[in-house]
Symmetry: C2
Subunit: 394 residues, 2 copies
């Protein structure tokens, strides 16, 4: 695991120039209770007392920690210097700033992106106090775009772990397909998947109560909550939204099954048409993706495909980044709605991993897919094989 | 578990008047990635999209969530109203504010206390935008003292769970005592305790790598990091700092053992004198604690006891709150050092649970204890039996 972190902290230093930052500072305390989500990218960086993890454009990495927290950080070998303090960190911090004289200091706040918004308001006020009367107080800027790039642009070691997670997830989807039959409740399916996860000694990608998310038939309520008592029935569909976390990296995918009625050998034409529309919208978006686009442009392609086919718009974004979290924050394929803030305007870059997900509610059930793509220098590639046919059960 | 949360949300409404707040608002988004630590007190409150959990002095509880997040919140039965939105939460939020016309709206920021500082700087800026041009923008205040009381003053259901956690912890300490012998490395002891935790299907109170914290003999480095290769030796001490999390509540305690040399039937006089000093300082503080004191006053009693006995001050606080986290934030027995901000000045109140912890480094090893007390209306009581004698091994 250390190699992943060594790759990542070097990437942090290297990305600073691209985003016009001389320094990046992550300021945290009592990380067991409340940490900056960016720290997970960089190592096992824990602090009881207020700590500053500092990266410079010139390639240095310096940690300032309370005495007692320092040795655990030092032993990870990620920082050139680990400086402990006892009564107050302020003077140590000012010494480090004076040494580097940064003209811009990025800190982690963002109106739009939770994963780039790790600095609390109280810590912001504390930092203002620390820097009062120094030139540095006026040099603090949002590190939002930098943090998004750091999180989003996967390094080779990270991509290998993402492929591993998606492989395990695919195994579990296949196990579900082999086991499914009519008459199973969402709760029974949830229990089966939970057992599959436990057997492998891994975790679900989001809270286990809501993972997998299941929709059996048309009466299952849509949204983020637990499995219901609705059952799989011939003539209806089942949708499953599921991901795993393996070695700290997540997958997030959906599959859809159709339960044949007696005598049927394929799904009714309307089910097939809806499935083909969903699949077609995802394929159209995947074909369109390339570095340099803004996220909303990709969403718009899939959204138009759906409405052109005569179906209603999906009430969410086409896709989000995947990585340390299932909803990994940063750039994504967001529509230009107020609730998404500035997120629709993020620029797509090579090395990012995104979901492509949308569905259509129908009298047969919720017919929805979620695939994952890796953005390449010239376009995108599937991170796992997309579902191209309805999976028929019975 | 629901009863605990019902108790707690009612307590939230009731505490508002005491702290001069008409309303309290917890503003979060993507809680799987970054949540406000206060939400854990109140229920299983998850949100993908920006959500506001609102409590009024008049006893109402209202949740505003993105569509899709609402049903999971509604099903917990903790809020009178759960209002979903699709494209933007702003208008819904303003309607709720107009309905209650709060003169003061507490939000979660604090310079001193991580557990009352759940609002990110980006969310603070977002809230400013939402409220721009309304009278409410000027009515936002820090809910710090309110949140500290809500977290710190345990309800009966919470106290029962804290006693349960400490009971399990005591079992594991006893198992260690029964198994200890000279020649064991800290790593072996760590592995033994880890196994004890796993057997019981519970978690450690803080990250498993650093829990238990161990100090075998005088050469073991002090601070928050993993077990070393130092071994238990006759004529030396072992200190263990350990806690468990059971049903969401933590314990946090230390014990100290002395390994007899051949022919010894008790510890050397100097070891005994240090142990008695540590124990005496903790007893003096416990005898002194009562509601209404400021935390630093309690720290000062133990600190003076140690220095009067001719030993150096401990380089940390005498004690912290325990609850959902081992270091639970809020009021505690902090010295008046800059690094602790305003925390030393918090007022002690009945229903709070604190550690009393301090140690002295010696040529025999680190001799340290950590006990837990419950503050009562008139003083305090031990939450578990304090260690009154060195535990002798061999």
């Amino acid at each position: 695991m250390v190699d992943i972190y060594q790759e990542k902290v070097r990437q942090a230093n290297q990305l600073l120039a691209e985003f016009g930052l001389d320094m990046w500072m992550v300021l945290v305390r009592e990380t067991a209770e409340h940490t900056d989500p960016v720290l997970k990218l960089l190592g096992h960086l824990n602090a009881v007392w207020t700590a500053a993890f500092i990266f410079t454009r010139t390639g240095e990495r310096i940690a300032i920690t309370g005495q007692g927290d320092d040795e655990a950080v030092r032993r990870q070998g990620l920082f050139d210097e680990v400086i402990p303090y006892t009564q107050s960190m302020q003077s140590v911090l000012l010494e480090v700033l004076d040494r580097f004289q940064p003209a811009t200091i990025g800190v982690d706040y963002s109106k739009s992106d939770v994963s780039a918004d790790g600095l609390t308001y109280g810590m912001w006020l504390t930092l203002q106090e620390y820097l009062k009367g120094t030139p540095y107080a006026g040099r603090l800027v949002s590190a939002e775009n930098f943090v998004e790039a750091l999180r989003g642009r996967k390094m080779p070691g990270e991509l290998a772990l993402m492929r591993k997670a998606i492989g395990v997830s695919a195994e579990i989807f296949d196990a579900v397909t082999a086991w499914l039959r009519p008459g199973l409740s969402e709760k029974e399916i949830h229990a089966f998947v939970t057992q599959q996860v436990k057997q492998r000694g891994i975790e679900t990608a989001w809270d286990a109560e809501h993972c997998p998310g299941l929709n059996a038939g048309p009466n299952s309520p849509w949204g983020h909550f637990g499995a219901s008592d609705e059952v799989t029935r011939p003539g209806e569909t089942l949708n499953m939204d599921f991901g795993v976390k393996v070695d700290g990296f997540c997958s997030d995918n959906q599959r859809v099954w159709y339960f044949l009625r007696p005598g049927e050998t394929r799904a009714p034409a309307e089910v097939q048409r809806i499935f083909d529309t969903v699949r077609g919208a995802i394929q159209a978006a995947a074909d369109f993706v390339r570095p340099g686009l803004q996220g909303w442009e990709v969403d718009a392609v899939a959204r138009k495909f759906i409405t052109d086919a005569g179906y209603p718009e999906y009430p969410h974004a086409l896709g989000h980044a995947v990585g340390r979290y299932a909803h990994d924050g940063g750039v994504g394929f967001y529509p230009r709605w107020e609730r998404y803030g500035d997120k629709p305007y993020g620029r797509i870059a090579a090395g990012q991993v995104f979901t492509l997900e949308l569905g259509i509610r129908s009298p047969f059930g919720y017919i929805s897919l979620e695939e994952e793509i890796l953005v390449t220098e010239t376009g995108s590639e599937w991170l796992w094989p997309p579902q191209t046919e309805l999976i028929l059960v019975g």
